[in-house]
Symmetry: C2
């Protein structure tokens, strides 16, 4: 029997994260006055040890032992050859996937939820607030907080709260508290309810509520946590790619193409950044972040300063953005329905180190169903976007008769998203197109902000 997976031993697990900030120049985040913000300005929101990581340019950062102990619940994660998927596509390409669906919440999110909970704990914090859309991030943070005895409060966008009661049950099984946003508990929530008592809520409002709940705790024992976009989140996720790089070494192989879906950018960055490092050091390799055509921040939106949230409470971040008021079509990949893109990923696109791609919803589910019927694991809706790109590359390799090596981040399983598969199989899902005028309408707001510099690091 040829081994299907390359499994690292427990002592081969990476002990340091890779920090891409050591290798690229970045535009700084800006405050409301248009000037670069200082770390101290973030202190009411995040614990200082995480702020230090956010701004660090050390290339390697130690993973603390108590974090490794918890990651060991499901890590190292397998790197698996998708032989049955290859066969079904009749491609000469070798397709490997890094399986991040084995964690207790079923996605890559706990790779950062665990260290974030740990650093908060060490800093003396007792309670963490956050927002969640579809529920993946809120679940991961609830799981992580249970590991360190922290209280976790999740503001969940009301429409998802109502549609996905199992996500709330999941968070509460781990001891988290999940409430529908907008809630009457915060000023931001009360204001939103006053404007529209029947509002379905939004990620923007939920972020505002979570931040307000953190900074308004006068004991100083509460902080806020974000599951994507920021530098320290990308840093924590690099364990994915660092493991994969070791696994390729063991397999005696190396990817020609690296693929991951990208909403805020964290699972993509997690797999890709260590390979970006190799590319900076001269390796010939293509690296593709993949987004839905319905939310094309990387492929069709400008690189600009914009707020991370809809309400405009966060600092201005340098990123590819559709504008913070952009409302994407109701595609089922909730984790990819974000107007912006991580500043690090955005900068790497500008540098030409990444080549963004976009796929339609139907092609995504088609790839997802083929994956389930061959490789077994049912992919998360987000993950199907990456798989659709893999299908494109595999078909191209077939046409060209080239034996390419592809690696994709299988960011999570879809066992809590089976309703979307049901709709796809019943022919009730659609592709969405977006015309230039609509993008222009939403990106106009960016004109009023400072422009990021066109930095070249490499």
């Amino acid at each position: 029997m040829k081994p299907k997976s390359i499994i690292l031993t427990k002592d081969q697990i990476p002990r340091k994260w890779y920090n891409i900030l050591a290798d690229i120049k970045m535009n700084p985040p800006l405050g409301p006055d248009g000037k670069p913000i200082s770390p101290e300005m973030l202190a009411p929101v995040f614990p200082m040890n995480l702020i230090e990581q956010e701004v660090s340019s050390d290339r390697w950062i130690d993973i603390p032992e108590p974090v490794l102990d918890v990651l060991a619940i499901w890590r190292p994660a397998p790197l698996t050859r998708a032989t049955a998927f290859e066969k079904a596509l009749g491609t000469p390409a070798k397709i490997y996937y890094k399986n991040e669906g084995m964690s207790p919440p079923g996605s890559h999110k706990p790779n950062t939820a665990v260290p974030q909970a740990y650093y908060n704990k060490v800093f003396g914090i007792e309670k963490i607030t956050t927002e969640t859309g579809a529920g993946q991030w809120g679940s991961a943070l609830s799981f992580a907080c249970a590991q360190y005895g922290l209280t976790c409060k999740v503001y969940m966008v009301r429409i998802s709260f109502d549609q996905k009661p199992y996500r709330k049950a999941m968070m509460e099984t781990w001891g988290g508290k999940c409430i529908a946003s907008p809630s009457p508990e915060t000023k931001a929530g009360r204001d939103a309810l006053e404007r529209d008592p029947n509002t379905p809520g939004s990620l923007g409002i939920a972020i505002s509520e979570a931040v307000e709940a953190a900074v308004s705790d006068t004991t100083g024992k509460t902080r806020y946590s974000l599951g994507s976009v920021l530098n320290h989140v990308m840093l924590h996720q690099t364990i994915i790619g660092l493991e994969a790089r070791k696994q390729f070494e063991i397999a005696g192989d190396y990817p020609d193409i690296v693929i991951g879906c990208a909403g805020g950018g964290s699972n993509f960055a997690g797999l890709a950044f260590p390979f970006v490092q190799d590319k900076i050091n001269g390796k010939a390799i293509e690296i593709y972040p993949v987004e839905p055509k319905a939310c094309p921040s990387m492929t069709r939106a400008p690189f600009a300063y914009d707020h991370g949230d809809t309400a405009g409470y966060t600092p201005l971040l340098p990123m590819h953005s559709l504008g913070h008021n952009f409302v994407p079509a109701p595609i089922h990949a909730g984790g990819l329905r974000y107007h912006g893109m991580a500043p690090t990923v955005s900068q790497l696109i500008n540098e030409g180190l990444l080549t963004p791609q976009s796929v339609g919803q139907l092609a995504a589910y088609e790839a997802g169903v083929l994956w389930a019927r061959t490789e077994g694991f049912i992919p998360a809706p987000e993950t199907t976007n990456a798989l659709a790109q893999v299908v494109k590359e595999a078909k191209q390799a077939k046409e060209e008769g080239k034996e390419k090596t592809i690696v994709v981040c299988f960011s999570g399983h879809g066992l809590l998203d089976l309703g979307a598969y049901d709709k796809y199989l019943s022919g009730e899902l659609f592709d969405y197109s977006l015309d230039d005028a609509e993008i222009e309408k939403f990106t106009q707001v960016l004109d009023s902000y400072p422009k990021p510099q066109d930095l070249k690091s490499v």
Copy 2:
């Protein structure tokens, strides 16, 4: 970092199943005439290669390479030390769990679904029918059939079909066809609908429909498949315990107590039988199958001949049985709501090699929530029953100040059963008790059947 899991390499995966029939005597299954049935009588229902396994007394049976190739999607499964659970219980006991929740459908069921699909394929069968209650077995068989290009049709008890639409979506994502039972497609279904058009259905009716659909296909290309109870199902599951035994060898440890939940008996048998072999060969070890107090076939029902299904279509099997008309209380561990117990497990109880235990529903969920908050993975409702027994043993070890080694089968995750956790956390779940008169009422039917012999093998 101390390794949390013992991971076998791919070449350490067992290549043979252990057949307990080599080591114990069994009463034969009986036909409608009260005489032992011959293998040929089962030929319209199962393919002959599986029937041969059902009656084989070879101690070791080779696992075919194409089966190993598919099992390699998620096997070998980790044996993990539940250090955080131990710590929360303050016990000197060492608790290990064999994690069967990593398979694509999330339970141990594909360990037998995969070889069953394979043997059917090899025998020239094109379509497999089965029934499913809560949906775990139907999901596993749909997954397995997709691997070998077989058609899968699942008759799902109507009440579960309506309550758990995601299970249907799961099966259909894998290409299976799932319909509510009773259906108008079979005589058994039509009769049931005529008796009561609004019937919620039952596992008994669903079995009758699936068997009828298989045997009435005049092309001879359809067979029926069962997910528990039978000898060949237990055989396929022994890969769990064979892996675990190797992993204990690597860890330099050996269990004092082996624990698994038991409905039909297959996950329990899978972990336990290799250790039963050791016990027969002289090892001092306690082995506990655990059932819910609401469905106490092992702890309170007689050893007798009874039908495997409610309608009485199957042969008479020698087993601990509450009577085939027994209707258990609506506990959420759907996989444990079965009136009988696998004949092999039942015989081992008679031999004194196993010591059955029972737990209440609230103790089970209490253990399940503690597990989720410590070890991370949310257990399936069935699995929580085994965990409740682990808690009992761990507390006893604490009282006695003894360092015992416990191993438990973590039969599956509960990500499709979060509604039950929601109810538990909201105080809406109950314990059920069963008085002797009720058990007597249901077991009276057994008086009309032949009596199995009191065989002593060891």
